[in-house]
């Protein structure tokens, strides 16, 4: 099946500032794709290129089988970063207007807007002006406006930023609803927990360049898991193992010491346990903890982040 979105070797420069350089991504139908990276990494620019809002200097773009994103805009829903709405319009009208811009006729757009508002508990807010809604409600309206025309692809730029935990959960549920309805979802974020919970695939971008592309599992395998071991015995003998790089005591309780074993590459549980038995180490507890996506993120881009943050907003024309 042809990918829904395919960016190949995209370059974009604003004045002297290189916003994205050689970025590629591929999103398959029905996937939830997380576009991850620190502030100023080039996520928004990549999304804008993807949606045809701006053109790349180099590279190719294909979205829903078309090279012109505008020609398929009726099949795409988009929620920009730092989003807003027309404050003086009613919630229903603003959703309907954006639906009309995506090709719906006026009556259908209004009816569908009403249905969405009702389904997501905002029926009472339908006739209220956006400025009369709470922040959470307004944000929900914004997301609904990306769905009103029943798009095949929904692109959300930093959808979780500024949301309180309750509304973050509401948005996650909403995205899961979309996923179950077979929609393809791309969202950018720098909060890894959301990506970890929601994404089938992730793309990590830093300093305008691709750093990683793959599944969450593949990302986690980039780091070795942490091994925790609790015992009353001395485990320094484990240093003899070639794969063990360091053994560090963490805590002690009732004479039982907890150790963290840092390895180089993956070490099999059997080998470690076998070596413990050889040295008569009595194991009270043994666990292998997978790295979080956050740890992978910090590992991959942590060193560059500070530099990249300084590159944000370099003046007019900078649209990273």
């Amino acid at each position: 099946m042809a990918p829904i979105v395919e960016l190949s070797n995209i370059h974009k420069r604003f004045g002297d500032h290189i916003a994205v350089e050689d970025v590629s991504m591929q999103v398959e139908p029905g996937q939830v794709y997380g576009f991850l990276g620190p502030n100023g990494a080039g996520k928004t620019t990549s999304i804008r290129i993807m949606l045809g809002i701006i053109d790349p200097d180099r590279g190719t773009r294909q979205i829903l089988g078309a090279q012109s994103a505008l020609s398929v805009s009726h099949r795409v829903g988009y929620l920009p970063e730092e989003r807003g709405l027309y404050k003086n319009m009613s919630a229903q009208n603003v959703i309907a207007y954006l639906g009309q811009l995506k090709g719906m006729d006026g009556a259908s757009a209004k009816r569908r807007a009403g249905e969405l508002l009702e389904r997501y508990g905002l029926a009472d807010a339908a006739k209220k002006r956006v400025k009369q809604l709470s922040k959470g409600m307004a944000q929900k309206v914004q997301v609904l406006s990306t769905m009103v025309h029943d798009p095949d692809l929904v692109v959300l730029d930093e959808p979780f930023s500024g949301l309180d935990p309750v509304n973050q959960q509401v948005l996650e549920d909403l995205l899961m609803d979309m996923k179950q309805a077979g929609k393809t979802i791309i969202f950018s974020t720098h909060v890894m927990q959301h990506a970890e919970r929601l994404c089938d695939r992730i793309g990590l971008i830093a300093h305008g360049r691709d750093v990683f592309n793959g599944t969450v599992g593949e990302a986690k395998r980039l780091l070795t898991p942490r091994i925790l071991l609790r015992t009353k015995d001395d485990i320094m003998a484990l240093h003899e193992l070639e794969a063990v790089r360091d053994v560090t005591p963490i805590s002690e309780e009732n004479g039982v010491m907890e150790w963290e074993i840092v390895t180089q590459g993956r070490v099999s549980t059997e080998e470690l346990v076998g070596r413990c038995m050889e040295h008569r180490i009595e194991i009270a507890h043994f666990s292998m903890i997978e790295p979080s996506l956050h740890e992978v993120f910090v590992h991959l881009v942590g060193g560059e982040k500070a530099v990249e943050d300084q590159n944000v907003s370099k003046g007019w024309g900078d649209a990273t």
Binding site: R48, L51, G52, I53, I54, A69, L70, S73, V76, Y78, L79, P80, E81, E82, R83, G84, L85, Y86, K87, N88, M89, Y97, L98, Q100, L101, K102, S145, S313, G315, W316, G317, D318, A319
Partner: protein
């Protein structure tokens, strides 16, 4: 493509006309325009202070005092008669009217007169025969029943008797000590039509040897000897209502005295009111055509509308910039440009906002005329009638429409693009300043040149971008050559096309940018095609 443009245009129009600020502007602008006309009149009729003036004539046989008092009363009488005749012109039965005003074969000559036509004899007849009642008895047969009563200019000057103590004082030479208590309010006077003590505002003191003086002599230029002068005393500067009337009346009295003395016959004064049998005619008609007030208004009105046009554009340009700034700062513009092209967005916004501006403009002009018709006094009813006549006979309304649209699109593309760079109201102010300055200069230049509407200056400006629509509007009733009309429109259309082309290229980048552009960057963008 058309669908996207029409959706954006409709949204821009509907959402703007529903805002409180638009509705307030819609009501406020014609109200303010009307208030500019009516409030001064209302204030003068409701808040006018009556100034008490005493005349002391120290000349032998008191030659001038009574004449001066009569001259002052005549000013009021002439004003009242002018109001009455204006009232008749506004409310007369149609059978008493012709194209040029009232029918001279049916209406008495007194009612045909305008303010400058009334003679001393007319004023004296008004004063001696019962004033308003007498004038209305002449006017009433020609006025439609049920017409509102005429509104007369209130009296602002009351002639009072000289207080006894002052009359007995020796006011020759140095009268200040005697006059001071009366003019500073230390002592008050009583007047027949007021039960409150009143202050004396001015004393006209005609010194014993005052006499007419030759023009150009030092005495005629304010250097008369104290004993030979006509002195007007007041506490501080003379109130404005007296500052013009008292010197003028005194001059008229002394001129008349000299004239009668020279001619040896007081009938010479009646001869002074003789007039040339003037007719002002327009050569454009086959046998000439009588020029009327409507012709004068037709000449001036387009100039006034031209200035009004640019101020309306000014208001609407800020609305346009603010709307775009809000869309940009809320980032909703990104959703828009992911659905329609930036050019579709730009054109849609321009069309929608031009409809908003046109609605406001048409409503304001209509309301203004309605307010004049409904709320005005007799002067205004007559004026409104003439205005409607001018609108119906001259190509003002079509010109207004065409030049408004041209003017709008000349400026709107630029303002819209500037708005696309703005994220705050302060940005709007800063970015719009150069264009606002240009818009402020245009009406001054147009007004200065429009006095000679078909002169070379007016022709040149008609062909210049940005000035053309306003200059041509100011020339609308002056029958400009067809070459100027077509040429000016083509130049403006070409300028609009170039500006929109450049705006489109800059706009698509501006809506997504942050920070301020430099001129060099803008030029580079246009050259590179955005």
């Amino acid at each position: 493509m058309i669908r996207g443009i029409s959706l954006v245009a409709r949204h821009e129009f509907v959402e703007t006309v529903r805002t409180k600020s638009f509705l307030i502007s819609l009501v406020l602008i014609p109200l303010l325009m009307s208030a500019g006309m009516f409030v001064p009149q209302w204030l003068s009729s409701h808040t006018s202070v009556i100034r008490n003036v005493a005349i002391v004539d120290l000349t032998e046989e008191a030659r001038y005092g009574d004449m001066l008092a009569q001259e002052i009363k005549r000013v009021y009488a002439r004003n009242a008669l002018a109001e009455i005749t204006s009232y008749v012109r506004a409310y007369a039965f149609p059978e008493f009217k012709t194209d040029q005003g009232l029918d001279p074969r049916q209406v008495p000559p007194l009612l045909l007169k305008r303010r400058s036509d009334f003679t001393d004899a007319d004023a004296d007849a008004f004063l001696n025969n019962g004033g308003l009642v007498w004038a209305m008895s002449i006017a009433a047969p020609f006025v439609k029943p049920g017409s509102p009563p005429p509104v007369l200019e209130p009296k602002t000057l009351r002639l009072v008797d000289v207080p006894d103590d002052l009359a007995k004082a020796d006011l020759r030479g140095a009268p200040a000590d005697y006059l001071r208590p009366w003019l500073t309010g230390e002592r008050n006077i009583t007047v027949p039509d007021s039960d409150k003590p009143e202050t004396l505002s001015a004393v006209v003191l005609i010194q014993p040897d005052a006499a007419p003086v030759q023009p150009g002599s030092p005495s005629a230029l304010g250097y008369a000897e104290p004993g030979q002068s006509v002195q007007i005393w007041s506490n501080g500067a003379l109130p404005e209502s007296l500052a013009r009337r008292l010197p003028r009346a005194a001059n008229v009295v002394f001129q008349k005295t000299e004239l009668v003395a020279y001619a040896g016959d007081s009938e010479v004064l009646e001869r002074m009111d003789y007039r040339a049998p003037l007719r002002t005619l327009d050569i454009s008609a086959k046998d000439g055509r009588e020029l009327t007030t409507a012709d004068m208004i037709a000449r001036i009105l387009p100039r006034a509308l031209s200035v009004m046009l640019i101020y309306f554009l000014y208001i609407n340009m800020f609305m346009l910039m603010n709307n775009t700034m809000e869309e940009k700062s809320s980032r909703i513009i990104e959703v828009l440009v992911s659905s329609v092209t930036p050019n579709q967005l730009l054109i849609g916004k321009l069309l929608g906002s031009s409809l908003v501006a046109l609605t406001m403009f048409a409503f304001s002009v209509g309301m203004f005329l309605a307010v004049i018709l409904l709320a005005g006094g007799s002067d205004f009813v007559e004026f409104a009638g003439i205005l409607l006549d001018v609108f119906s006979k001259q190509p003002i309304l079509p010109a207004l429409f065409v030049y408004f649209v041209l003017g709008y699109f000349l400026f709107a593309g630029i303002f819209l693009t500037l708005g696309a760079f703005c994220e705050t109201s302060r940005d709007v102010q800063n970015m719009s300043t150069p264009m606002v300055l240009l818009m402020m200069v245009v009406p001054f230049v147009v007004w200065a040149v429009a006095d000679d509407p078909n002169g070379s200056g007016a022709q040149l400006l008609s062909w210049m971008p940005f000035f053309g629509p306003f200059m041509m509007m100011a020339r609308a009733t002056s029958e400009p050559p067809m070459l100027d009309i077509v040429g000016s429109v083509l130049v403006q259309l070409f300028t609009i096309a170039v500006l929109l082309w450049a705006s489109g290229k800059i706009f698509r980048i501006a809506v997504l940018s942050s920070g301020k552009p430099k001129v060099g960057q803008l030029i580079k963008l246009v050259r590179q095609g955005g």
